[in-house]
């Protein structure tokens, strides 16, 4: 069933200005500064058992619990991001930092392979007694992802060997004829598929398959586990097992529910396993859940999970703006899931949402200077919502770093006789195809400009499939200067020919346009958002002449895009002549307050909150 495979980021050169800048920032600022933060908060020292320093300097988590239990995962994620960085540019300092972590892990690992620094240090007798809450397998998953990334980046398998021993221990512990457990926070499942891809060892895939298949089975493992701890079964802190998507076997799930990141990580693994096993039932479940989330539970910015209470989903169309949670991690994870769906089916709907989540909610999580972060991504702010230097639960910081550092991995899809280009912006790769290879060089100033040039050098006949984004109207294409018909198949222009040294030019018009929400999204009714190309725009207070809440963007106002080299490192703004409500004489009047024309300047959502405290609106009154 699987027709496409992702092309690993390590095989792709990022050359365009937009992603080169983000990548350079992540490599030179984000990853080094994150290592400093891991040191500052004693997170790295937590690997050195017995732990020499109590973690007194970590800020308390707002919910009051210790976050130390998650620290292995954060370190794993940093190793992963740092390894991606090494692929772009070797760096002796970063390599030494990773090696020190690997050495610590090697030393910490128990003789039987077990490796969780919290449990080894604090309560070794309680291993595997609370999978529901304590993230043991989640931590293992992130460390495994780090190990795979470090192996792919450097060929060094020392960390992978440590993790393989741990996975063998886990496989010996859990299974149909052993403990029938699985993690309260999905993650290890997708990590195991990555390990399978990196090593070809089937045991990783089998363990991932077991975890996914077992999830939600009755009698419920979390009930049994709670009873074994002497606790009332079913008394989940979050109320129901929907929180961890373990309320039903995964193939029976039809609604996206619960903690958004757990959901997205699980769907990612489900799509992976659907592909590996040709499992139509699992694929159908993925497709149902995809429709549910994109048709009823997604912010216009590609954010997911409106509620801080469960860090997750609530009801259909419940998408408030000023209290939006829309965790950065959830959008990063949506990129993962969408990429897998795109491999199952070359369907532009997956690439469209991938791109939306990537360029907007996910990218907003990282500041321009690469050293501060949004955990939650509101779509409206009175100016008090600002990025953190660090977070007591720093999951989002490394998630956005590893996404940007591996951005090349989302550009291409490869099948036997076909190469698909999902994302534009300047990238090149030499890819195997049709028994030979092809050198593909895409050049553009995307997302600012829709003029795309794709040079293909190959002596093979194959299909080059170019994504025509759903936001684009009036796309045109030429091959070697000759216009070709714009006939798309599920969002892709498929050009089959015998290639030589050819140039395909794609013109994707991207005038700024308006977006409206479904009227059941109560917060957005009577309001309009602005998009241009893949970017969602917002109004920041400092760019306007009137307070945000007084501004209106009438439906008749023309939207004009202007590239401003002087602003925020160079961005396209969208301007319009809005209307600003004037001050009336009284608290209540019988005629509406007068309006006066007032210029509006919108900036891309991903780059907001980089100029100090600043009110912001994505949805503007129309």
């Amino acid at each position: 069933m699987r027709r496409y495979a992702s092309v690993p980021f390590s095989d792709v050169q990022i050359t365009g200005p937009f992603w080169s800048e983000r990548l350079e920032t992540v490599l030179t600022r984000t990853i080094p500064s994150q290592h400093k933060q891991l040191e500052k908060f004693n997170m790295l020292r937590s690997l050195k058992l017995p732990k020499p320093v109590p973690p007194t300097t970590i800020p308390p988590h707002p919910n009051g619990f210790t976050t130390e239990i998650f620290w292995d995962s954060d370190i794993g994620k940093w190793v992963e991001a740092a390894s991606y960085a090494l692929t772009h540019r070797r760096d002796a300092v970063i390599e030494a930092q990773i090696e020190e972590i690997v050495a610590d892990l090697e030393k910490a690992q128990a003789p039987d392979g077990y490796l969780n620094c919290w449990y080894l240090e604090r309560e070794p007798q309680n291993r595997w007694t609370n999978l529901r809450d304590n993230h043991e397998l989640y931590n293992a998953g992130h460390l495994l992802e780090g190990a795979v990334a470090y192996f792919r980046a450097t060929g060094r398998d020392r960390m992978l060997a440590v993790m393989e021993r741990y996975m063998d221990h886990i496989a010996a512990t859990f299974g149909p004829d052993k403990k029938r457990g699985y993690c309260g926070h999905q993650e290890i499942e997708l990590a195991l598929v990555k390990a399978f891809h990196a090593t070809g060892k089937r045991k990783f895939l089998d363990l991932a398959t077991y975890f996914i298949d077992e999830r939600g089975a009755q009698p419920h493992y979390f009930d049994q586990e709670a009873e074994a701890r002497g606790e009332a079964p079913g008394k989940y802190g979050q109320g129901t097992y929907e929180y961890s998507q373990s309320h039903l076997p995964v193939r029976q799930q039809t609604k996206v529910v619960g903690h958004a990141v757990r959901a997205m990580y699980m769907y990612t693994a489900m799509a992976d396993l659907a592909a590996e096993h040709g499992d139509d039932g699992l694929k159908a479940a993925c497709e149902r859940l995809w429709r549910d989330v994109t048709e009823t539970r997604m912010y216009v910015t590609g954010g997911f999970g409106p509620s801080a209470r469960n860090e997750g989903f609530t009801q259909d169309y419940d998408l408030p703006n000023d209290t939006a949670y829309a965790e950065t991690c959830a959008s990063v994870a949506m990129v993962f899931w969408a990429a897998r769906m795109l491999n199952l089916d070359l369907d532009g709907q997956y690439a469209d949402t991938l791109e939306l989540a990537l360029y907007n909610n996910a990218l907003a999580g990282l500041s321009r200077d690469g050293e501060t972060y949004f955990y939650d991504n509101k779509l409206e702010s009175d100016g008090t919502h600002q990025r953190w230097e660090w977070h007591p639960c720093p999951c989002c910081t490394m998630n956005v770093a590893r996404l940007v550092a591996s951005i090349g991995g989302y550009v291409f899809g490869a099948a036997k006789d076909e190469i698909a280009l999902h994302l534009y912006g300047g990238a090149s790769a030499t890819l195997p195809v049709a028994g030979g290879q092809a050198q593909i060089t895409e050049s553009s100033n995307y997302p600012w400009d829709g003029a795309i040039r794709v040079q293909v050098k190959s002596d093979r006949a194959f299909t080059l499939s170019l994504r025509i984004p759903s936001w684009c109207e009036g796309a045109t294409a030429r091959v070697n200067g000759q216009t070709i018909p714009m006939t798309t198949e599920r969002g892709y222009l498929r050009i089959h020919r015998q290639w030589a040294d050819d140039v395909v030019e794609l013109h994707l018009p991207m005038p700024p346009h308006r977006v409206y929400a479904h009227p059941e999204v109560k917060a957005d009714i009577g309001r309009v958002a602005i998009k241009r190309g893949p970017l969602v725009y917002c109004l920041e207070g400092r760019d306007q002449e009137a307070p945000l809440h007084r501004l209106r963007l009438p439906s008749s106002a023309a939207l004009t895009a202007t590239f401003r080299t002087d602003l925020l490192g160079g961005i396209a703004t969208v301007t319009a002549t809005g209307q600003a409500t004037q001050t009336p004489t009284a608290l209540y009047t019988t005629t509406p307050a007068a309006e006066q024309p007032s210029p509006l300047t919108a900036v891309p959502y991903y780059i907001w909150a980089n100029r100090g405290p600043n009110p912001m609106q994505v949805w503007v009154r129309e």
Copy 2:
């Protein structure tokens, strides 16, 4: 300085249909059912010291504290409301109920006059040790108001005698040369002025004057009192002394702050004392505070105090709809304050706000059947905001009852050579004026109709001042069939003549009209409210064909008033052809969802939530 005096409700006959119905409901249903609730929750038994039954059946207050400490005040307020009822119609059952309360109070009263059932029962040693929090003087004030009302209604002075002994004890305890205390919850001040008016005894006025003059003086009494209890001074549960308007001496206060009911009760007493003493400084303070609240901090419904946190005021223009607190008591108290301001100056702005608060936020607090209540009055509801049968802090229940039962007291103002008519709706009274008297009979179907007929029978020359409400445009007047010029002086048409048996006809056109809020009221921007005459309207879900959030009232839609005898006992509805957003195909679209005409039916705000759970909006999208 004082030109006008209120005419006691007991001298006024209510004859019009609107208030007759409300009055009858309060007399026959509200007051008896409240007595049942006072019994059910052991509140009446709390007067029978030593207390025989612990109050286990009272529902816990949402904030977790005991409300028993306030119970004396609730009983005082019930006696007051029940006494007003007796003025309209003698009732042996009610009289016996009041007499039992009086007997209990008499028995409970300490030999030195002290009378607070909580302290006498629970902690007699701690009297007067926490004026800031424990409502001791507040309770005394409400019992005193009850005693004055019972005395006015029946001429029986037994309860007044009990309370006079208590006031003597209080006067012996507090003063410039004694304990320099005053109550954390203002109320006793206005009660003392009432006692002065009822008895002519100056000592009541002197004590009220002391409490108002001492408030906010430094060193701060609440600090000293806290220190005496061994607590840190200034550590007020509510953060600052603004909560109880004791942050500054009252004459220096310029902003309405803190707990809304405390504020309004205090301003009421300040206006009383300004009149009694001809105190221009106090009057100026009242005027400043009046401007502040009506120009920046008042809901369109005449509600006050948006925040549940402090049951009070926040910032200018902070008037959210779905979380509005707008306590019923605060609007009732605004009626009290506005009536006093109107006596200081015959200025229609005071009567306009009195009428607004009365007909809308205050009256909404009582159900049609007279037996359920709103404590907080939201201006938007998803259908979950419903009236209570009783409240752990039942202050609002008796407050709205005593207001309705004494409604006649707000109709007239009387000066030496002048009678003013503030409110219409059918009332008559024979009043002393110009050395003689006048029989004034106002007949109308107000607030449904603006045709007002005032018959004056008198042999005196005097000024009849008829209020022309600020919401009214194009008012006309005739005297004995002859049109007279509509020349108003601060909102009143003043007709001076030698009267005999004359008829003044006033025509107050009341087409439904639109109201808009100041653009700094963020919740209302782009929205419109409907008013007709003194009534604010709202949309209830069940009257519409589309969900409320999908409805829009375009500025071009004509508003039509229709009297519907079949609806809610007979009300004028306002209908219009609105627009309802249709369901689009996708979560996000590039064109706004289509609209279709959809009839809108608005009902008066005061009568909403009488037909089961029902979403509601005052402010509708325009």
